[in-house]
Symmetry: none
Subunit: 215 residues, 4 copies
Amino acid sequence: MELLTFQNLSPERKEEIIQTSFAEFALKGYESASLSEIIKRLGLAKGSFYRYFSSKKDLYAYLIQNASERRLSKLDNLIEQPGIDFFEVIRQNFFDKLKFDLENPVIGGFLYRVMHERDNNEVADLIGGLYTSVIKITQSIIELDKFKKQLKIQDSEIVAFQVFHMQLWLYDYVAYKYKIDYHDNIKRGQPVLNLSDVELNRVIDVSISMLKNGI
Amino acid sequence: MELLTFQNLSPERKEEIIQTSFAEFALKGYESASLSEIIKRLGLAKGSFYRYFSSKKDLYAYLIQNASERRLSKLDNLIEQPGIDFFEVIRQNFFDKLKFDLENPVIGGFLYRVMHERDNNEVADLIGGLYTSVIKITQSIIELDKFKKQLKIQDSEIVAFQVFHMQLWLYDYVAYKYKIDYHDNIKRGQPVLNLSDVELNRVIDVSISMLKNGI
Amino acid sequence: MELLTFQNLSPERKEEIIQTSFAEFALKGYESASLSEIIKRLGLAKGSFYRYFSSKKDLYAYLIQNASERRLSKLDNLIEQPGIDFFEVIRQNFFDKLKFDLENPVIGGFLYRVMHERDNNEVADLIGGLYTSVIKITQSIIELDKFKKQLKIQDSEIVAFQVFHMQLWLYDYVAYKYKIDYHDNIKRGQPVLNLSDVELNRVIDVSISMLKNGI
Amino acid sequence: MELLTFQNLSPERKEEIIQTSFAEFALKGYESASLSEIIKRLGLAKGSFYRYFSSKKDLYAYLIQNASERRLSKLDNLIEQPGIDFFEVIRQNFFDKLKFDLENPVIGGFLYRVMHERDNNEVADLIGGLYTSVIKITQSIIELDKFKKQLKIQDSEIVAFQVFHMQLWLYDYVAYKYKIDYHDNIKRGQPVLNLSDVELNRVIDVSISMLKNGI
DNA sequence: AATGAATGAGCCTTCATTCAT
DNA sequence: CATGAATGAAGGCTCATTCAT
């Protein structure tokens, strides 16, 4: 993980480094992302970078961790509400994720790409864990007594897969339907403003409905 | 696309070249895949390769085309059967795809990876079309009169997404559930034999059920 | 020089080969010109080419020879006319050369480029001879009794240089003044029609005047 | 242009790099010159070179700039002298140029070659400007009131061409007449000492005379 | 005789990382 | 401690030429 020298940087500088790195990895993927490019863009000394992170992979691991924390779902609070409906939890979760990704295209794009880089041997270990843990968390929620009885399918694992992947493809779907150019948004680093909550909710309503009652 | 000189090779040599390339791209992705590595493994001269394909991207395009043809679904015949149920079509399709991928881990792994490389600017043009066309085909089937009335959701586009992505994640799910190491299978190039049709059908039954009636 | 097999080709095929080669060398110069490109453009078999010419340099030598013959000046007839003025000979020569180059941009461009490739070690031997011989011929004309007395400068060698190079730079001058894009003309292989004889003569008049009486 | 890292090198190292590069480009021309060769000869690491110059073309541009500055004519001072004769200016200029080229065969050879590489599409942009600007400067001098009246030809553009190209061919002429092997001199990197100022002046006298009163 | 497959050295360039200062 | 110079393997690709068929 990141070295102490990185933690000692001013929050502003840290954020600059993180954002620039997010953008590079989001745009090019792990292998093609260029440390040299990041370093040049930051006006950093080559050596300095290696005093913050011990390797490219180390930086990548840090970014995954950092991005995950930022997009941490607020599921916990939700789940604990008495009498809450399972599908309401999912709806909220979908909405939060999509909202976050549209408002933070760089981080959203980064995490999206990370999820699709599980096959890359080089970083499979970093992502495999994340992927597995997300599935497992979803699964454990499903297995809560109060939710379990709301579901028809008893195999919680496959249901978790379905829920998790639907959340993943919602990102694709929105991009496809509204012809959003994520690459461009990442480059410009600007939030995708042109999608109202109403529209967002309509998309999510349909997907929740599919989840609930099938297509 | 491939040059004439490639077509003139013996079928055995062609297949060697194709398989070695599939494996390299499946294992490392487009950018990181190394032509030099492929060429070395094939015992080719550097220059010889470029008499078969005019560039790395050209080879990649050929492989996508070739793999797609090999895994071509037999949907057409199915659809035309009188009185056929929509979900039966999907089930058959899921089964064929999974079966194919398990028996041809190299090609399956290649195509899986291709689908997730849409973000790669370099090859987005090759893949974007494929991705879009698969969605569109799925959508057009859904819109057939005889199937439309079997569905609750009227937005055929989002349904197509759901169906398509479920088929995609089934691959992930099987790997996850049965702890299949695709990387290893690709390297060894051997079919994944240890999954019986019975097991396969069980997985697919559940997923079709989710599709039909929700989770 | 060219091999016998080349001579046995039909005149049309020979001409095709020559013209395609002229264009390639004119456009890119000796080193950068690509035999592969020429061969591809001609739809030739690689091996066939080497049955016509034994090497790239051999082809180049043949082209120089061929182009030189085509642009052979008609000086001889002119010189023998009784009472002819030296400057009239030069004027005619300049006019013929420029006219030829404007009407045959490919060959003109080729020869122009050849003249400037004397420094290239690889082909210096081919061009050095040509260059020297042109100077020597010019010099020998100057030394004819009937012309010698018309000149102020007794060093015929330096005068020959001056005359020869002026003829060379006239090509540059016309291109510069009339913004002629030789590259484009070579690619299109079309005569440069937009320069009338009147204009041509005006340019040549001035240059002859400079030669005769100084600037 | 050159990167900062190059400027930080010791003057000696910089000069080594420059001279080695001059020689390579002078000997082989832009396309055929090999960066690998230069780098090997300098005992550099491949990557180190690219910390000095961002590309082959960048190095070439730098060399052109550097060589031009070294051979900068002292015309300005000369022109401002009251009562100076135009032909005296030219004579001085010719002398300086030739002297410089004979004493610095590598740079002279480099610049000579550069001037003849205008046709090379790859670097035409670098050279076209230089070529045009030299002509234009010459032309503007000619158009100075105090010089204009000394000339017979009113078309200053064509006169500028004549003057500029005569200066160019003087280099050729000297090589031709004294059988100087520039290639060999460049390889050996040694000044061409065997031409006395007396001889040089004789050549220039004749050429100035031709310019003044014709041949 | 004619073909076109094969060759492999060589090209320019980029990369993550190290380490002396 | 911070710097930035140095590294050299590896990348994709082109080339003129050879030679078995």
